[in-house]
């Protein structure tokens, strides 16, 4: 098979992986090498689905021995199979990189003969890139669950970021939809990676030349909407991953039905709004000082589709508002709908010079159409309406509320496999 035909098969099979980040580590080039990496990451293009392209995202092979219900590459699927030679991946990466199409490579793979054999082949591609081609651009390597710890360690020495996909938000769903993948074979490498990253950081503090281990950290991904877990379960899982495993990112991927399987739900369309709300809640966990238990609870296990999760929290906590812009501390400012990390920082910086007026707030870039219901400026409110939550809710929904969806479509989740 020609490289072009393989590329078509193996990029088409890789597109369901959400991560494309090229950020998180800075590496200089040198006169004998090609490439470097930038701390903030660089997006090189945006595909027709609006997602950014920064890495050559491909599978080494889609010829899988596993038969996971949700996966396009499962062994029982009658799709065209292809596998790259190591050289093909290396050449594609270098040719694309020299033309500035990409920031680097994101290599994943179906499980070919065994997890170890697959991981070994993936690592050899990356080794060739790093040693023969002296490639110093970004590399994201997927870890195949079930491969040996030595291979995980080797992967982390060559790649900037490594990731193990948690695939589904619960052990039960994993057992039902991906029976050949074991929970421990996913969690074990994750905690090993977390440990290695920490150890490498500690060692580098005392010995600057110690090798870096996955300097851009570890991420994971789970499919949302293929199994019955609530948003609360998902967020608690993410919270645990961030706190205990020290993950950089958890990616959520709206379930796109690619197979017919009676274990899978029948959806009219991928749950994109749910995915979007989960990302918003994820940001609240990482940058806004929220806990999963503040965002959701057992009584209210799913995110409100009409409001972003911060606005939803604000509507449930009228006692917290109004927030005085000229006095509130950073953490309090962050709780105001319409004020993000950037504008909260800017408010603090601008207050050092003078009292902030309503006009000044607009200059800073606060989204006033949402913030105006929740703040005062030198004691003066923006909206004279009484703050009954119901009234506020309606004004945010019907007025120029910003990031709200006027009428939430009824949730349709049919799980024939569960009811049968």
């Amino acid at each position: 098979m020609e490289t072009l035909a393989k590329l078509q098969v193996l990029s088409g099979a890789a597109r369901y992986d959400a991560s494309c980040a090229s950020s998180g580590c800075r590496r200089e080039g040198n006169p004998y090498s090609t490439g470097n990496t930038s701390q903030s990451g660089i997006c090189h293009s945006w595909s027709d689905d609006g997602r950014c392209i920064s890495l050559l995202k491909i599978l080494l092979s889609n010829d899988c021995i596993y038969d996971c219900a949700y996966c396009v590459n499962r062994s029982s699927n009658p799709v065209e199979r292809a596998s790259f030679e190591a050289r093909e991946v290396v050449d594609l990466t270098m040719e694309f990189y020299r033309r500035n199409y990409i920031e680097g490579l994101f290599l994943s793979s179906a499980v070919m003969k065994s997890p170890d054999q697959t991981m070994e082949r993936m690592i050899s591609v990356v080794e060739t890139l790093r040693t023969e081609e002296r490639f110093r651009g970004y590399i994201h390597l997927k870890i195949i669950p079930g491969c040996g710890p030595e291979l995980v360690r080797k992967a982390g020495l060559h790649a900037d970021r490594i990731s193990v996909n948690i695939e589904l938000p619960s052990h039960e769903s994993l057992k039902r939809l991906a029976p050949q993948k074991e929970k421990f074979s996913i969690l074990e490498p994750m905690s090993l990676i977390g440990k290695e990253i920490t150890e490498s950081l500690v060692e580098r503090r005392s010995r600057g030349k110690a090798p870096k281990f996955a300097p851009a950290g570890q991420s994971t991904q789970m499919i949302v909407g293929a199994s019955p877990e609530s948003d609360f379960q998902i967020l608690r899982l993410s919270e645990g991953l961030y706190r205990k495993m020290n993950l950089k990112r958890v990616y959520y991927s709206a379930f796109v039905p690619v197979n017919h399987d009676n274990r899978l739900p029948v959806l009219a369309a991928p749950p994109l709004l749910r995915e979007h709300r989960l990302y918003q809640a994820d940001w609240l966990l990482r940058f806004y000082g929220f806990t999963a238990a503040e965002i959701l609870s057992d009584d209210m296990p799913n995110l409100d589709e009409s409001f972003d999760p911060k606005t939803a929290w604000a509507l449930r906590h009228p006692e917290f508002y109004p927030v005085e812009i000229n006095r509130a501390d950073y953490a309090t400012l962050l709780r105001v709908p319409g004020i993000g990390v950037t504008s909260a920082r800017r408010i603090i910086a601008a207050r050092r010079f003078s009292v902030i007026t309503p006009e000044g707030l607009r200059k800073i870039g606060v989204v006033m159409k949402r913030a105006k219901y929740f703040i005062t400026c030198s004691g003066r409110p923006f909206e004279k309406t009484e703050r009954s939550p119901l009234l506020l809710r309606n004004r945010l929904l019907l007025g120029d509320g910003g990031d709200v969806v006027p009428s939430a479509p009824p949730k349709q989740l049919v799980l024939p496999g569960l009811l049968a």
């Binding site: 080039g29 997006c43 040719e95 000044g360």
Partner: protein, 244 residues
């Protein structure tokens, strides 16, 4: 209001600002603009004093290093008519140091920081969107038409990244080019540009990239609006993946 004029160069701007600030006048009562040499033009012309400009610049670097970046990006925007704002911004920078960029409630600071941030954003964007094509002699060529004059910092970025290759970046609108040849960078203007012939393999590599670009999108998630807002159509002209 007193009006001052300068010759329109960055150096002239800095030397005029140095002169006005040295006079310890209230900058809120002074305006500064480019000399147009019309008959009825009013104002005091301040001739460029290179030494004064350099002296002011190094003082700025010491006292407000952030403001130096802001000034640098501001000049890339090639915006006319904002000299008065720049004068007031620099006066505040000398007074408050690097934290001046946080004083966004001040109209002059807001104006200057916004323009400079826009140039910085386009520079970052172009680091991703620039496309090189391989020529017959083995060198690479990239063409672009950015809104801001970013070729210098952009070329510096690629001089660290693609060090082993020889390449050109050509700003079609401004007719200026950056050339990286055997490890050294030169900038110059180009009077007449004729596109050189592409190498044999170029078409094949471009076909591979276009194929990848097509298949990496998830059909069920098609979203052209999001694509255009992240990657405005004005940049598509030189994007390999958006050609034919």
């Amino acid at each position: 209001m007193d009006r001052y004029l300068y010759d329109g160069t960055s150096e002239g701007l800095l030397s005029a600002v140095a002169h006005i600030l040295a006079g310890e006048r209230d900058v809120e009562r002074v305006t500064l603009g480019e000399r147009e040499n019309t008959l009825f033009e009013e104002g005091v012309y301040l001739a460029t004093n290179t030494a004064a400009a350099e002296e002011f610049f190094s003082r700025l670097q010491m006292q407000a290093s952030e403001a130096v970046y802001t000034f640098y990006y501001f000049t890339m925007a090639e915006k006319d008519g904002m000299e008065t704002s720049m004068l007031r911004y620099l006066a505040l920078a000398m007074q408050h140091g690097s934290k001046v960029n946080g004083y966004l409630t001040n109209p002059s600071v807001k104006e200057i920081v916004t323009v400079s941030r826009k140039a910085g954003r386009e520079l970052h964007r172009m680091k991703g969107l620039l496309r090189f094509e391989k020529l017959q002699d083995g060198a690479y060529l990239a063409r672009m038409e950015p809104d801001n004059n970013i070729i210098h910092p952009l070329a510096l970025h690629f001089s660290k990244r693609l060090r082993a290759e020889d390449w050109f970046i050509y700003d079609v609108r401004r007719r200026i080019a950056a050339r990286w040849h055997r490890g050294s960078l030169t900038l110059g203007s180009i009077e007449q540009f004729t596109a050189p012939a592409l190498s044999e393999e170029e078409k094949a590599v471009q076909a591979l990239w276009k194929t990848f670009f097509g298949t990496i999108a998830i059909p069920e998630r098609r979203n052209p609006r999001l694509q255009k807002s992240s990657m405005p159509m004005k940049y598509w002209k030189y994007l390999t993946e958006k050609q034919g």
